[in-house]
């Protein structure tokens, strides 16, 4: 039909740019699309024109719809960058059930709510020790380097059984891997380096198992349930996802709070654990750092919101604007740490919803309830427009955040 044709011809480029001086808000063009309707066409780097799903209700419905696939190997999949992996190099987040469920269930237990809750004292100590070091050191200091990156890196290293002394290596390669502007060969090299590193670690755990997640995977390799390449691939996924995302929430969340001092004060001055966890949910909603949408492809025709998404067409669920949908969150562009935001979809929805969400929540609860209380005069040591934001990142955040007190 001509209307569809012209909608595709006029499709705006995606991802869309954020507005200058509004680093916490989603792109205005995306918000405008949301106001126009629940579905729009957008154009990707490779010329494809998948559907952009703009509203919370349709996003949630589609992420839970069995006719919607996460399999990157399907031809219509709207990949955010050239696809580099094949076969065993693809992680389970880019597969469908039952393949996905089989692999995910092998690593779910350590992230269960009660298991994670038991880590609270250890995480509190990591946070307190890093703050001690910051306070004893020179200022201004880069909060990303001194605090935001080390907290989740130390935690995930402990959980996986990765030596933290290798953090420069895995942090550098993770950065290259998730930057959208990284050239294909460079990304391949970074993923290859991380996979080789994790493969070696899994090998070491085969002979000398410990009480950690990689040792658990090694024993499954031994039992023939998993290939060593699959185990290494899962290790890469958990290591990268385990530190990059939370690190960005810590640094960007701190900056957002510094820019909203009345909200920061509520968090700093409370003993109420409930308010702290409410604040974490609200910051997850408000910042939605996985800002390039969840990517899917339809396996059957899907009638939704008066349109037909045809089998084989790509779908992008823009959860950043879904989390700013006024139908679900009143006055959605306001940061309100007391708001009940638990329905947010910052962790996605459907069977692919973030595996590490309990751990992320706990780390953020400990950080947000400790950092501002222990350094009550914490402030940015530079102007907002001097701060380098990760516009080119698969995960949004700041590259550095100079702070003083």
């Amino acid at each position: 039909m001509t209307t569809t044709h012209s909608a595709e011809a006029d499709a705006p480029e995606f991802p869309m740019p954020r507005a200058a001086r509004c680093p916490f808000d989603p792109p205005p063009e995306a918000k405008a699309k949301q106001e126009e309707g629940p579905l729009a066409r957008v154009r990707l780097w490779d010329g494809r024109t998948p559907w952009l799903v703009t509203r919370y209700a349709e996003q949630r419905a589609l992420m839970a719809d069995p006719r919607v696939s996460s399999d990157i190997r399907r031809p219509g999949y709207p990949s955010p960058a050239p696809v580099t992996g094949e076969g065993s190099k693809i992680s389970f987040i880019l597969m469908d059930d039952p393949e996905h469920a089989r692999l995910r269930r092998m690593v779910t237990a350590p992230f269960a709510v009660r298991r994670v809750a038991a880590m609270r004292p250890a995480i509190q100590k990591i946070v307190d020790d890093l703050i001690d070091e910051m306070l004893a050191g020179p200022k201004p200091v880069d909060l990303v380097e001194a605090f935001a990156l080390p907290v989740p890196s130390l935690v995930i290293c402990e959980l996986l059984g990765v030596p933290y002394s290798d953090h420069d290596f895995f942090q550098d390669n993770s950065k290259v891997m998730i930057r959208q502007t990284t050239a294909v060969e460079q990304r391949q090299a970074a993923i290859g380096a991380l996979a080789a590193y994790l493969d070696e670690l899994v090998g070491a755990k085969l002979t000398e198992p410990g009480d950690d997640l990689l040792s658990g995977l090694a024993s499954r390799v031994e039992a023939g349930e998993l290939t060593r390449a699959e185990a290494a691939q899962m290790g890469v996924l958990l290591l990268v996802a385990g530190h990059e995302t939370t690190a960005n929430m810590i640094a960007l969340g701190t900056l957002a709070l510094l820019e909203h001092p009345e909200q920061l004060a509520r968090l700093r001055d409370t003993d109420d654990e409930k308010l702290v966890s409410t604040a974490v949910e609200e910051l997850l909603r408000y910042l939605n750092i996985t800002h390039n949408g969840r990517r899917r492809v339809a396996t059957e025709d899907i009638e939704i919101a008066g349109e037909t998404i045809k089998a084989g067409e790509g779908i992008i669920l823009a959860n950043d604007i879904g989390n700013r949908d006024p139908e679900v969150f009143a006055d959605p562009d306001r940061l309100d740490v007391g708001r009940d935001a638990r329905r947010h979809i910052a962790f996605g929805f459907g069977v692919h919803q973030c595996l590490g969400q309990s751990l992320a929540r706990l780390e953020l609860q400990v950080v947000y309830s400790t950092l501002y209380r222990r350094i009550p005069t914490l402030r940015a040591a530079t102007e907002l427009d001097e701060i380098p934001f990760k516009h080119d990142g698969a995960v949004y955040g700041v590259y550095e955040l100079p702070v003083t007190w």
């Binding site: 995910r104 237990a109 929805f349 919803q353």
Partner: protein, 65 residues
């Protein structure tokens, strides 16, 4: 209120155990849902409803007791 869980659909995200730990837990070996109380009291209605709503896999079904 009657609660039914579908272990095959569960993806172990843990939302239910976070929201309503009196009613839901997770298996030790693979994080899959464990139903602790299939007929929770009226006082737990709201939290159990929220748990069902938040379940990303649609693995929790509620009915009348």
């Amino acid at each position: 209120m009657k609660v039914v869980v579908d272990e095959d659909r569960c993806c172990g995200a843990g939302s239910c155990a976070m929201v309503a730990p009196e009613v839901f837990d997770q298996r030790e070996d693979d994080g899959i849902v464990v139903l602790l109380d299939a007929e929770p009291t009226d006082g737990l209605r709201a939290t159990v409803r929220e748990a069902a709503d938040l379940c990303p896999a649609g693995a929790i079904t509620l009915g009348d007791a």
